[in-house]
């Protein structure tokens, strides 16, 4: 999967005639690559545009411009029937909140079977067999199939959601904050499960996350987003050992477990001032300069390009 210069701008309308008075630049020129069997994480705070990017991938939002290539084909050139047969079944999702992503009145059996019934012509028996196979893969038992979602804990529900996402043998799964609604001791179980399934099925993951520690554990490549743009993009280990963008450094500092870790990585505790500006009216020049602790006068005028500083490590900062 490859995203090229994706933009999503929402119009802001006002007045009696609902004239467009401005644009919210939710995603503003984002490019990324998810390799087969690998994980790319989009990291950022609320309003960074990570969810909008994921929605574009899931065809829940039509990008204003830019293209998405799936296994080499531009999906904007596919017909609706092609999308239905060649794209949608191959790209599935697991949502953040397992309490709202499932119909409480459906049995687990039917929840997991739904994609199979809608997308394939399998017989009832085949569907039944596949459901049990899926439940086993995510660590649930056959007897769970006839229960309702409310009978399960958060971690188990997330397992059901994973089983549903895997039903059609997708090649890419979008994981939108897959563990942030779960308790600490349960998170580890689900993260381990997701990794095992990735190895087993050679799955690609596009992970949306705000927790950096989760990201380091789960991903091969990380893209740090700020105000609709990617500010740093690198292999996971490279990013954590050699963060270059001031925003990345601040995020890492904010997610440190202990002070000892910070000193080991040579990171000074950083507390940023202010908040993320509105995407309706992003600051000129570098979008981060209003909160940057290293901002120079020229940062106010020139928007930095996302440039390669070696080994595929890209950063959008003139100082790096």
């Amino acid at each position: 999967m490859e995203g090229r210069d994706i933009r999503k701008h929402y119009p802001v309308t006002a007045g009696l005639l609902q004239r467009t008075v401005g644009w919210v630049r939710a995603v503003d020129g984002v490019s990324f690559t998810v390799e087969r069997g690998k994980t790319l994480s989009l990291v950022g705070e609320s309003g960074a545009g990570k969810t909008t990017t994921a929605k574009a991938v899931l065809l829940l939002e039509k990008p204003t411009s830019g293209s998405i290539l799936f296994e080499g084909k531009d999906i904007s050139h596919m017909s609706p029937s092609q999308l239905k047969s060649e794209y949608r079944p191959r790209v599935q999702a697991v949502q953040q909140n397992p309490w709202s992503s499932m119909n409480p009145r459906m049995r687990v059996r039917d929840i997991v079977a739904e994609p199979l019934v809608v997308n394939t012509g399998r017989s009832k028996q085949e569907v039944r067999k596949r459901v049990l196979e899926l439940l086993e893969q995510v660590g649930l038992m056959a007897e769970h199939a006839d229960r309702y979602p409310h009978e399960f804990s958060g971690g188990q529900r997330q397992r059901i959601a994973v089983a549903r996402a895997l039903a059609l043998n997708p090649s890419l799964v979008v994981l939108d904050e897959p563990v942030s609604a779960l308790d600490v001791s349960i998170r580890a179980q689900i993260m381990n499960l997701l990794k095992d399934l990735q190895d087993l099925h050679k799955l690609s993951y596009l992970v949306i996350a705000h927790n950096l520690a989760t990201v380091r554990f789960m991903s091969h490549t990380v893209a740090i987003m700020y105000l609709g743009q990617i500010v740093e993009y690198a292999e996971t280990e490279e990013l954590f050992l050699r963060p270059l963008h001031p925003y990345t450094k601040a995020l890492i500092s904010a997610s440190m477990l202990t002070l000892a870790e910070e000193t080991e990585l040579g990171i000074q505790p950083i507390v940023l001032s202010g908040e993320m500006p509105s995407p309706l009216n992003p600051p000129p020049g570098c979008r981060f300069h209003t909160r940057c602790f290293r901002a120079a006068p020229e940062c106010r005028d020139t928007a930095p390009e996302l440039r390669d500083v070696g080994g595929g490590h890209k950063v959008a900062c003139i100082q790096a």
């Binding site: 705070e45 600490v184 993260m191 381990n192 520690a213 500092s253 870790e261 908040e275 993320m276």
Partner: protein, 323 residues
């Protein structure tokens, strides 16, 4: 060493439901000193919030009742106070910050009015402009920019971080001795969370307020708390100074919790995971509550409950393996 502001001894809080007694808090003891932050860490349902609510005596009645123990705040046993006396204590002596500012603030009142409400209620000030002064000074304490201009703003006009500061301003407006903060940073973004924590450390330095910090996030604990208690199924399993707890955790649950959080300073191939789930509080396992999930459980753990034992200065553990 600073004076002890709050002393909780063997607190027991239960909910009486149709399915029987739910022992949400089952014999919890701790203290907080002036200018100190005591963290209560645990997963959902371990009783950390109920502990906070019990101190404020804000349990949902009649189901929730404190059935035993002592809560002594600045020499007064809160459990001996009448409802009316307790009302006076709240806000003035002890206040609270909740997780979600969007639900703890009233959407149809300006923030100035909401802060003024608690000032009027708890500090009998003779004139309205003195109330206004107090409101502005509490906004200033929380470093809300241009407080005079903000008084007429409504919650929806503020960002999440600013709203949580307003909640903080209400809590601090009457200069309480004790502040109970229940997951105050959970709804905030990472960099805003860091700001909020830095701000509260500074406020604590200036006002010497004692803080009980309830959270599930060890990262926040490391940055904010002086001492921590780890709760499991209604009890503390371990209490220690923060640095000590991270350096040498003793209880298997503490060890497992710390290990199951992925680390930033190294690449984990696989996360340590605790199998199973916390027990139901209506049907607690016999013996140590953690034994069904414990990888190093002894025979004794299955039928005898381990007592909390002091194993070092301010470090106590409830586990048969260490005692």
């Amino acid at each position: 060493m600073s004076a002890v502001v709050l002393q909780v001894e063997d607190l027991r809080t239960s909910f009486f439901t149709r399915r029987g007694e739910v022992k949400a808090v089952d014999g919890v003891s701790f203290y907080v000193r002036e200018g100190e932050t005591f963290g209560i860490v645990g997963e959902s349902g371990c009783g950390k919030t109920v502990t906070g609510m019990s101190i404020l005596r804000l349990l949902p009645e009649p189901a929730g009742r404190i059935i035993g123990g002592k809560i002594v705040l600045d020499g007064t046993d809160l459990l001996s106070l009448s409802k009316k006396q307790m009302r006076e204590f709240r806000g003035r002596m002890v206040s609270m910050i909740l997780q979600d500012p969007m639900t703890s603030l009233n959407p149809v009142y300006s923030i100035g009015d909401q802060i003024a409400e608690s000032v009027r209620l708890h500090q009998q000030l003779p004139a309205e402009d003195m109330v206004r002064e107090e409101v502005i000074s509490s906004l200033r304490l929380l470093r809300i920019p241009a407080p005079e201009m903000r008084l007429k703003d409504y919650p929806f006009q503020l960002s999440g971080g600013m709203r949580q500061r307003v909640v903080g301003a209400i809590a601090m407006s009457c200069h309480p001795r004790l502040l109970i903060a229940d997951e105050p940073t959970t709804a905030l973004d990472a960099t805003i969370q860091a700001q909020y924590i830095a701000l509260f450390k500074d406020i604590q330095e200036r006002t010497k307020v004692a803080i009980i910090f309830i959270t599930h996030d060890f990262g926040v604990v490391a940055k904010m708390c002086h001492r921590v208690g780890v709760m499991y199924a209604g009890k503390f399993v371990e209490k220690a100074a923060t640095a000590e707890l991270f350096r040498s955790p003793q209880h298997p649950y503490t060890v497992a919790l710390i290990n199951s959080v992925p680390r930033l300073d190294r690449k984990d191939e696989r996360l340590y995971s605790i199998e199973g789930q916390p027990p139901s509080l209506t049907d607690l396992p016999k013996g140590c509550r953690f034994h069904p999930r414990c990888s190093s459980a002894l025979e004794r753990c299955t039928h005898q409950e381990p007592p909390e034992v002091e194993i070092g200065r301010e470090h106590s553990v409830a586990c048969w393996r260490t005692s």
